[in-house]
């Protein structure tokens, strides 16, 4: 199926620092999502993004989180500042025509 890439695959960061997770979505897709999965647990929706705007966000999408896709480049999730509870795997998803395709995830560890 269509490939969604995520960079980096792993990130270790000290609490309080900023982190940016990068997603390279499918080229002709227009809808983008971030999900969070804590180890061994359910996948949970964070935010979706269309036409340069946040369309919907969950309670997990704290004020410290932001998303953007400047000039059609990477779709990014920025966390500033990070907290211990932000440790998780973050998945980006890309949607063109209803079906969502997921990247391999970025494992974020906040120390």
């Amino acid at each position: 199926g269509p490939k969604v890439l995520q960079i980096p695959s792993h990130q270790i960061i000290d609490m309080g620092q900023m982190v940016t997770l990068n997603c390279d979505p499918v080229s002709n897709h227009l809808y983008f999502y971030w999900y969070k999965q804590i180890l061994g647990q359910q996948m949970e929706f964070l935010v979706n993004f269309y036409n340069g705007k946040v369309m919907e966000k969950s309670k997990l999408f704290k004020d410290q989180f932001s998303v953007e896709r400047p000039d059609g480049s990477y779709f990014t999730l920025k966390i500033q500042p990070t907290a211990l509870e932000d440790s998780a795997v973050y998945f980006c998803a890309s949607e063109g025509d209803a079906e969502q395709f997921f990247g391999p995830g970025t494992r974020l560890t906040v120390l």
């Binding site: 359910q42 369309m55 391999p104």
Partner: protein, 109 residues
Amino acid sequence: GDQVEQSPSALSLHEGTGSALRCNFTTTMRAVQWFQQNSRGSLINLFYLASGTKENGRLKSTFNSKESYSTLHIRDAQLEDSGTYFCAAEGANTGKLTFGHGTILRVHP
């Protein structure tokens, strides 16, 4: 409570046998996707259904929006089918996917 209730939470199958996973929805959903999460954590798309039944090899999935459930049938299970299977449903007025808690499938010789 959870909008997506997935069962069973764990399943053990002998090679060559089969079984079914089920997701019940507590609200109206307009589509469902099924994924396999492999040992590396990657989500593999298995099915997308807005209604009806689809089949792909040894897998078959059904989505009944009126009765609010979806099933994934696996037949002739192989060792490489082991992993965690998730259903995820799209609500009527949202693009977000709400995931089930997953089914850990282990296929053994």
